[in-house]
């Protein structure tokens, strides 16, 4: 038996999301068994079934050194505030903008 990871996607501009997994001997059976297990309430319009052994898993030991770098978390709020301020100042002086 192989483990298949199940990903579902709703129609439109939504990403595939992990929904769970199931055990099946091969892809055909995975397809057969995933339908009622994961989409019986129309949870998705498209489904990916990915053999778990096809997934390259990367863990904390490799990722963790990036945790303490707040300078990489620019959410743009500061820049947006500054732009707003400049726009308002320009409007007051009647300048073009």
């Amino acid at each position: 038996m192989k483990v298949y990871e199940v990903f579902l996607k709703k129609a439109g501009k939504t990403p595939f999301e992990h929904a769970g997994s199931l055990e099946a001997p091969d892809a055909e059976m995975a397809k057969l068994l995933s339908r009622e297990t994961y989409t019986r309430r129309a949870e998705g319009d498209e489904m990916w079934l990915v053999p778990r052994d096809a997934i390259v898993a990367v863990g904390e030991d490799w990722i963790a050194p990036n945790e303490d770098k707040p300078h990489r978390h620019n959410d743009g709020a500061e820049l947006a505030a500054r732009r707003r301020q400049l726009r308002e100042a320009a409007a007051e002086t009647g300048g073009g903008g």
Partner: protein, 247 residues
């Protein structure tokens, strides 16, 4: 307006689906593995839905049509009444039944009653999954281990004579055919089903003795099998407690 003889013909299908849906539901929580549990229960639920759609057409009170008739007025075949307490039996029945049901719904696609043709179209969308599920599991079991082959083949052999009685005609079938209300005889549908099952099982090296004459069981004319009363008591337990309960 659906006349009495055509009503019998539709009841045969609706009653089959009601009993089949109920029997399938008995596997809820005890099917061999989780995914199969969900699949089998869903299939059973689909069958109940098919029964309901037909009952709605045949009377204004679905509960009365489904549970308010005496057993002698049921037109189900004996196959759907069997308990099938072993998984291989439930699988063999599911396989034989859904291959037959598909052929029966296809024969209703050109029904003179547009509403019935509509129900048939919808049912067939669901039947495609039922058949894929049944056939794939059947093939896997028959080409799996020595044990899976032996057990499933034995279940098929013990069940197919009863399955065949699925195609016994209702009382007035010849009149319906003469009047053009039915376009295909049950004998014709039976032959299509035999060909379909034969081809499907031939692919995995199993043959059944179709030459043996079918046993006359009488399900379509009101004869109930020995298993019906237990099934009936369970199905009507809620109605018996609360006659106003609705499906």
């Amino acid at each position: 307006m659906i006349e009495a003889s055509y009503r019998q013909h539709l009841l045969a299908l609706a009653d089959d689906d009601l009993c089949m849906g109920h029997r399938h539901s008995e596997w809820l929580g005890v099917a061999p593995f989780l995914e199969e549990d969900l699949a089998f229960a869903s299939i059973g639920q689909d069958e109940l839905g098919h029964a309901r759609a037909l009952y709605e057409l045949l009377g204004d009170d679905v509960d009365r049509v489904a549970f308010g008739r005496p057993p002698g007025e049921f037109r189900s075949c004996h196959l759907v009444e069997l308990p099938c307490t072993a998984w291989e039996e439930a699988l063999a029945r599911h396989y034989l039944y859904d291959l037959a049901e598909t052929i029966r719904w296809e024969a209703l696609l050109d029904s003179y009653e547009a509403a019935i043709a509509g129900i048939a179209r919808r049912a067939l969308r669901e039947e495609a999954y039922h058949v894929a599920h049944a056939e794939q599991l059947m093939h896997r079991m028959l080409s799996g281990t020595e044990e899976s082959h032996r057990r499933v083949a034995a279940a098929l052999r013990s069940m197919y004579p009863t399955a065949r009685a699925l195609f016994e005609p209702v009382t007035d079938e010849s009149e319906l055919l003469d009047a053009g209300k039915l376009t295909r005889s049950s004998a014709y549908l039976e032959q299509r089903w035999i060909d379909r099952v034969r081809t499907s099982l031939g692919a995995v090296g199993v043959s059944l003795e179709w030459e043996v004459a079918a046993a006359g069981l009488g399900g379509r004319t009101g004869v109930r099998s020995e298993y019906f009363s237990e099934l009936w008591d369970t199905m009507t337990a809620v109605t018996a407690t609360d006659p106003a309960a609705s499906w």
